[in-house]
Every structure is written in structure tokens, then in C-alpha cells.
Symmetry: D3
Subunit: 170 residues, 6 copies
């Protein structure tokens, strides 16, 4: 990666004090961010998720987690201290079940038209969705691990498109 230590941390002013960066001069643009993350389950927890008829109506754990992810993404600027509030124009949440790896992967896509990016909204949505899966299955398995919450890509803004280097996650 081309990042160098000389880059400034934009969340600090010249005196090194935290602030909410001034974005007033930025041009609004169409913004999009996609974030992913996953949760690793025990056999028992994965079975509860996969054969839900024995435990729960099909898809309900993920159905609740999807709503939690959406509601959580809308709370981003209340949760992340230096995040700007912004009106999301789109949020979608997808899940993929990996029976071999015993994982559930969440993908959250966030969009807005505005002066700041929506990376934190996508990442926060993914985190809250995974926490909700943990909460709903923790009676079966307390050992689940939330893993690999990362930005997949972002579009829009002055810095344009950023794509996660392939293979970066492993």
C-alpha cells in the first residue's frame, strides 16, 4: 500500500486535538461503500441456523440481523464520535452461509449523495449485524468469533474509487 507515515490524520487539527473535520468546502458527490465481515460458528450453532425448522422459522436469525444492520448503520454518527451525520439514500444487507467453514458472511452496501463517504456506515452496519447473530445464537454457542470486518470498496468523493487489493483478506 502506498500509505506513508507523513499523511495527516484528518481527525486532528493543527494542535492535535480531535475534531469533526470541516467538509463544508467539499463538493457533494454520489458516495458508495461496501463492507464485509463474518462470524465463525460452532457446528451446533451453524446447524441451528441451517436447519432452522427444528429451532426457528427459516431465515429468522438472519432476518433479525438484517434489520439490526440497517438500524445500526443509521446510528453511525451517534456511535462513532467524529463521524459526520448524513442521510443515507440506500442500504442493503446480504448474507452468505459457508457450511464448510462454518461461517456466515455479511455484506453491507451504503450509499448517499453528500460531502463525506459512507465507509463507516457500511462497516457499522456489518458489525451490528454480526453482533446480532451472536446474540441470537449465544444460547447454543458462546464461542463464536466475529472476523474480518473490512471495507471492500468505496466510490465517490475527491479520492475516487478504492478497491480492496485481492487476497488482502487472507
Amino acid at each position: 500500500m502506498s500509505d506513508t507515515p507523513s499523511q495527516k490524520l484528518s481527525h486532528f487539527d493543527a494542535l492535535g486535538q480531535a475534531w469533526m473535520v470541516d467538509v463544508g468546502h467539499k463538493q457533494p458527490s454520489q458516495r458508495k461503500a461496501v463492507a464485509q465481515g463474518s462470524i465463525r460458528l460452532s457446528q451446533a450453532a451453524f446447524a441451528a441456523l441451517q436447519n432452522p425448522q427444528e429451532h426457528s422459522p427459516k431465515g429468522d436469525v438472519l432476518g433479525v440481523a438484517r434489520i439490526a444492520a440497517i438500524q445500526g448503520a443509521k446510528q453511525t454518527s451517534n456511535l462513532i464520535p467524529l463521524c459526520h451525520p448524513l442521510p443515507l439514500t440506500h442500504l442493503s444487507v446480504d448474507f452468505a452461509l459457508d457450511a464448510e467453514q462454518l461461517r456466515v458472511q455479511i455484506t453491507v452496501t451504503a450509499e448517499t449523495f453528500g460531502k463525506t463517504g459512507v465507509e463507516m456506515e457500511a462497516l457499522t452496519g456489518a458489525s451490528v449485524g454480526l453482533l446480532t447473530i451472536y446474540d441470537m445464537l449465544k444460547a447454543v454457542d458462546k464461542g463464536m468469533v466475529i472476523e474480518a470486518i473490512a471495507l471492500l470498496r468505496k466510490e465517490g468523493g475527491k479520492s475516487g474509487t478504492w478497491l480492496r487489493p485481492s487476497g488482502a483478506e487472507d
Copy 2:
């Protein structure tokens, strides 16, 4: 792990519909939960964190993340749909920097005296703390990955103490 698929998912009633479990009959007890998680940084982001005098006052990224973790933990029942609201009596947040692995690890301890556990509070605090580190360093590195958010141990309640099996995380 001894979990078996026959365990019931407590968040669903007999008809398989999501609800907020009835804990009215439970005896209140002293509850404690410790959760951990980490974020993997690029060299550049870790340098910004480690030599903050070039970028920021010492500890400020972590100082902001600590407050965010505490505030986030207090929002748990608003974020996780089927979580019971409960008044936390203690919350602490610790960070450990691993310069070799380029990681920051967060440990959140939550306590209450009540009828439900505080696992979700500890896990939510850890997640929000790590998201805040991402937010504050993302101008330097968008490729950071949040990893290994897991419960370390819990105490109290009818099921008593649960300890993460050693080595489970790797």
C-alpha cells in the same frame, strides 16, 4: 465444544417467532463479561498511532476510541434488537499495541447486577471501539481489518462462569 443442535434458541418462542426472552423469573446476580477484539493496521497507520507526536497528541486515537467503546456499550439494547436493557455498574476499556503484528487489541469489561448477562455489552463496546480506531486512521489506511471479536469469559447467572477454551482464537 459440547453444544448440541438440540439446544433451543432462546430468542424464539414456541412458534418460532423472535421475542425478547422473559427473564422475570430469574434471580438477579452479579454479572461480568470480558470481550476482546483487534484491528490490523498497515505500517503507516500503526506508525501514526505509535509515534503520534508527528500526527496527534499521545494516545488520542485510543482515547477517543475508549470513550466511543464506553458510549457504545451503553447503547447495546438499542442496537441489538432482542437484548434486554440493563444498567451497567462498571465498564472498562484497555488497549494493547502489538508492533510486530501491527495490531491494536481492545479488551472491554462490563458488569452489572441483574437478571441477564452483559456479554453483548462487552462485545458491542469492543466493536464500537475498533470501528472508531478505523474511522480515525482511515485517512492513512482504508485497508485495516477488524478481527477476532470474541467473548473471553463471563461470570454470574444460572449458567455460571464460562471461559474461552485456550487456543480457540488461533
Copy 3:
């Protein structure tokens, strides 16, 4: 009404999963919505409201309910999972007392300039206003009934003006 079952539910994507609809491509326009609802009181509760000098300063129950309706409308996107957050530009709340029918009717008008309508904001404001009247009079009467919360009209957006068919409410 001309609705047909073939209309798509916009809150679900092609796979039938709930999401927050993408409104990024929509043109912002001036939006307005008016919602109504009412609460039916016992004689005793209505008397308490109408002759407040014996119980309370004039208008105070309704004064508190008005503020609750306004504050509640601002919480709409936090309460209704798939609602887009939007910055309201106007909110007003009116009450009408019907001594014969022993009802209080609330009318909430919401406006914004944006990409989504404000129907839910008006309806949520009306609901919270009526719930607040219930709360403040429930020491006198627990049997009050909240009734007929409905959209009266909406303006703006691609679908333009919608007016409630007259007589639809009865």
C-alpha cells in the same frame, strides 16, 4: 382503490429481502404529508382535559402531547426500520376536541425537501402525540382507545399528490 396485487413491495429486493430502498436516483422535491388520528376518552378523562383548571393548567396535556409529537416525528427513521433519515423543514401539530364524541383529534403536518416522502414522519408524530395523551390521562381512565391513524394527503415526489378518498375513514 386502484391498487393491484401485482404492485411490488418496494421494501424488498429481488430476493425478497428487506432493505432500505435506493432513492439515490430520485430527484429531490418539496414533500408534504398530513396525517390524522384520534383518541376516544371516557367522560371523566374528557372532563379532565376540558376543564383543566380543576386538574391542570389549561392546555397542558395537549401542550405536552404537541411537543411529544414533534420530537417523535424527528425519531421516525430510528423507529421504523426501513425508513430513510431525512431533515424535516417543518412540523406542525393541531388538536381538535369533540365534546360530543368524547374524542381528541390530532393533525400532524410534515414537510421536507428531499428524495423520499414524509408520510411516516406525519403518521409517527400523530401516534406519539396520541400515546402521550393516553399516558397523561391514564390515571383517570385506562380504557381510552387510539383510533383512525391515517394519511390525509401527501404532496410531492414522482407519484405526486395523493388525497384520502372522502368518507374513507368512516
Copy 4:
């Protein structure tokens, strides 16, 4: 009903000013409240709900509304100005579809152990659940009407059990 105008409105002090009633001297007790409400749909909206395979996965509208009702009930003291905050120990939400009357009825049960009742929590949950159904079906039908939000019964507290007089709703 035996209510008389001489009953005091407990939300006002001796000077008639709104306050949050002092419940410090009350004995905590097991509290329960059950509230109901319904929404009247057009044929088209009811069909969308009943034959969801053409529009949405089975039960999803109600699944989202159930979560919204639960989350909404937890927000009660933030929405209703003079409501005391209290930690709910149980919340459940049931729906009944009436194909003849083209109605969906919601029933919300709330419980706590505390010094104040949970009537407002049950009523608020019911209201938010119904508003969410409206939101999710409004692309099909804007004319839906929310009706008959009322307390069914309450238990606990000094005043003991209250049951809605039968037939009171019609």
C-alpha cells in the same frame, strides 16, 4: 366506567405543572401489560401480505414489524415525555390476520419488576409495529388505517389487575 372528574392527573403537581411523578416510595412489584391494535388494509395490501411469495418472503413484513415493535417499546421513555425509564424483562409480539375484515391485529405483552407499570411500553410497541406495517406496504396502499390501539389488561402495582371491559372495543 367509574372514573370521576375528581381524580387527579398524576402527571401534574399541585401547581398544575407537568412533571415525572415521584414513584420512589412505591414498592416494586411484578408488572405486566397487554396492548392491542390493528391496521385495516386494502385487498391489494392484504394480498401482498397473505401471498407473500409473489412479493416477499413469507412473514417478512410481520417479521420486520415484530422487531420494530420490540425496539420501539424499548424507546418508550424517550418518546413519551413523562414516562419513567424502566428495564423491561420480557416483550413479546403476536400478529393475527383477519382475511374477512382485511385487518392485521398486533398484540404486545410487556413485563418488568419495578415501581411503575408497563402500559405505555405495550401501547408504544403496538403503535410502532403497526406503523412499520404501514411503511412496508404503503407502496401498494396509502389508505391503510391504524385502529383500536388499546390496553387489554394490566397486572401488578398498587391498583392491581385491570381488565378491559368486554365489548368495550366495538
Copy 5:
């Protein structure tokens, strides 16, 4: 005052890091706190408040501010990072108009039965009430000054009763 620099700041642990103090071991007790504050108005703003019939219904500015103070006090643990959440059992708000000094004084009383005091709830309620008065009169006068927000007394807890030394405010 007998405070000495050797007193520890309870909001920091042994390493000097902010945390939410552990109050788990404390005995719950009846807690009460009374806070005051005032806002200094111009002649024009005071007239608008005092002769409201020309501008507004009697008492409405203060009526709205009272509700805001109550709602704000309930938000204390969300606003003040290291404050423990606690369920208030009583909140009252009083105003006094001083026509000579052109001031409005707010007094907020908060009570709970718990392990931590309610000083911050009373002070936060007073602050939000005064800010609301400013908001509602700022069209008449932007120069209003909020003054002298202070704790008047607190009761309960291990340290017992604390009374503001008389004359301390001037």
C-alpha cells in the same frame, strides 16, 4: 472548601485511563439532587416571556422548556460519557422569573434508588431546559446568557448530604 489535590479522580483507573467507575459493590440508597441555573434575557425577550399574550400562549415557552428538561435529564448517560445509566424515579422542574434582574431561574430535582448519584441528571436537565428557553426566544434576542448552573444539594449515597455553601453563587 476542604478539597485537596490529593483526592483521586474516580473516573480514571490506576493507569490514568478514563473508565466508567465500578459501583457494583456500593449499596443502593435513596438518591436526590437539586440543581439550579438561570438565563439572563434582554428587555425584549423578557417582555415576550412575561406578556405572552402578545406573542404566545401563557407559559408556553416555559412549558416546552420543562418538557425538554425532563427529556434531557433522561438522556444524561447518553450525553455524559462516564455517567452510569440509572432509572430515575422522580423529576421535577420549576421556573422563577426575576423581572428586576431579567432572569429566568430553573430548578431541577432528580431522584432515584440506586448505586450512583443523580447530580448529573439534575444538572443536565437544568442545562437543556435553559438551552430550550434560548432556542425559543432567540428570534427576539441572540444575546441571552446562560448562567450559574450549579448543584444546590445532594442526598444519599456513602458521602451523604452535600449542601451548597450559602453565598457561594455570588
Copy 6:
């Protein structure tokens, strides 16, 4: 000041009822507001703040208060009933310590591009920041007084720039 009693209170409609003013017709413009306030400490509390190495890491009380001020400013429209929600584009918080007067002064600058001003956001941020200082030092001194919260200047909007008359504060 040139304010006259004939100015209308914009928060009330023609019938004198509180509402959220209609700003739909206003032209959006660049808005800025600067607010100040201070807290007067005892010698002991000031020493704890000034020589933090004996009590706390340098700057931490102010670091926590800064984050609280930023987060609090983002909550303005939830706290102040008739405030319009608006997306802040900039927020900064500065502290000045006055060892002679034993005061800490906070200055909060808020900016947005929109139809309403950000005076309340700046004032709310200042209030919450000062309340947080009180909270963090109250173990040392309960007698601290929050003082002189006032608008310093505002820019933008139809009424243009407003500057606090010099000397007005003393």
C-alpha cells in the same frame, strides 16, 4: 440592543402553539456559529486538571469533554424540541485554562450548509462539554459552577452576521 417587544416568537404559530418553524422556503446558505461557556473550579479541582500527572494522563479530562461536546452537538435536535435536524459539516472544540480565575473556558464552532442556523448546536455542544468536566471532577469538588454560556457570533442565513457586543459578557 435593538430588539423590540413587537418581534414575533418564530416558534409559535398564529394561534400561539409551539411548532417547528417552516423553513422550506428559505435558501440554504453556509452557516456558522461560535458559542462559549466556562466552568469555575475550586483550587483542588483546578490543580487536578492542571497537574494531571498526579491524577490522570495529561489532557484526559478535556479530551473526554471534547468528545462529549462533539457528540452532544450532534444530539441537538433530539434535545431541543423545536430545533430542526441538520447535518453538521464541521465541529471543533477548544479549551482555555485560566489559572488566575480558576476557570476552564470552552469554545465550540459549528458549521453547516442549510436552511437553519447552527447556534443551538454550538451552544448545546458547549453545555455538554462543561457538564462532562463537572462530571469528571465532581469527586474532587461538587461546588463547581457552569457560567456564561453564550453565543459569540453567527454567520449566514437571511439575517447575516451577528456579533456579540464586546463587553456584553461582563
